[in-house]
Amino acid sequence: MSDKIPLSHDFPQPPLDMVMPPTAQLVATVCLASVAGLMFLAALAHWVRTRNPLFVLGMLGGLLASVNEPFTNVVGMCFHPLIGQWTVLESFGRPIPVWAMMCYPVYFGGLSCLMLVMLRRGITRRRFWMGVGIVMAGNAAFEFPILAAGVYVYYGDQPYRFFGMQPTFFVINVLGAVLGALTLALLENQLTGVRRLLMLVIPGVMQVAAYGVAAPHMFTLSTDLPMGWKYAGTTLTIVLGLLVIDQVSRYAARRFPAAAAVPATAGGPAGAGGAAADRELEASGA
């Protein structure tokens, strides 16, 4: 077996000789695991207090979504140094470190649950976009310091890269997180009993579903096209992603209106209020 993917054409390859900085790996792992641990504890406390395991399932679903990391690394040209890495899982020939796995319950678990809380309380488009901003800020809060520490890298000709970050992922990740939150909110009252376990797969499925809008970015990034084309592809993905987020915000504002203030636990989004809103939506064709 070769040490390089033996394909017949050149396209950007990961820097296989990159070394994981041990101190940065330790700090990243401890910090992210601590935040994730706190979020799990909060979700458990909520379960005990309300008898509703929703947030625990959401957090576990976020953790499960970490199996997407090798896939996202391949299509998004992201690489975790292999040398010195504390590996937790591997697929597509990409070992994934523990610290990277810990990002998932925080982002696709905790931040999605935060968005879910906002939806259950009723939301306006303005507040939805504020939620999107918070989730993006959350993404930036842990990606920028880790990138600067050199524990992973976006390689190849990445358009709009700043401080090592590929901004397309702010859009794709937030889209995945809000889609997850929205799906959880929509299905919360329908997924009862053993069917609740389906909530475990929702964050992971929605994260990958969000990659649908990333096609132009992924496609051009992985070619030997000139940079102009790569910028065009990445721009298209960002615009497409923001457009989809905006549509989701419009839907969410109608489906979970702030004025109705029908808490999910007392009737729920899929309950009378939600169903009426659905009928109204269908009648409007939107």
């Binding site: 394909l7 997407n68 020939g93 070992p95 649908g212 096609a215 992924m218 496609f219």
Partner: protein
Amino acid sequence: MPEFPQPPVDMVMPPTAQLFATIGLWLPATALFVAAAVYWRRGGSPVYLLGMVGGLIAALNEPIADILLDCYHAEIGQWTVFSSFGRDIPLWAVGFYPIYFGGLTLLIYTLLLRGVTRRSYWLIAGVVVLGNVVLEWPVLPLHMYLYYGDQPYRVLGFPVVVGVLNTLGATLGATLMAHLAGWLTGHRRLLILAIPAVTDLAAYGVVLPHLLTLNSAASIPVKYLGTTAGIVLGLAALDGIGRFAARRFPSGQVPAVNPSPVAAG
């Protein structure tokens, strides 16, 4: 780099088969394009033509699909249209997309707007799976491409999970188009160009256990487990869409949005 299944890069494209497959796929694809253009000219709605072009654009997903699903098109002697992720995509494979993610998606779209029950929805899904099999089975024995690696549930070279995945992508695209039919008017209709490609990729979310285990050094039972989970999740998602479609586009009632695709335009 750790081990995971690699494509057979020394595979040679059989020239006669390539010629037949290219003609065999591009003839119906062209016929569908012409029919959509004629329909636009006569009926005034460009929805079908946009859907066909959208299906063609979805062909840009093929290299990503090949990497994820461990599929490989013989590159030696290939009539290449484009490359990405180091994968050359042949002309015949591009022809598959307007037929499947264009034509079949538009067929589902039309049937949805006419109204469906859960039973008729599953019949439609069956037709789409059949369409996939009809397009892939005759081509697979010609050794122009193959699914490599340890592929669970491969029937005559075709992995069952791919049938579920493609059907989900097409159904999702059609349902989204039908759901948004009243909104996709004027210049917003151009968004139809992106729908088949976006929903095709979005469908990959549900077969994640298959993708993860297929591209790992996991044992065969673990791969079967992952693929089984992918198929079950895919069928559950198809059923969920079916329930939504049966409520949103009820059979025997005036459709909630538009009585016909023409009106949608």
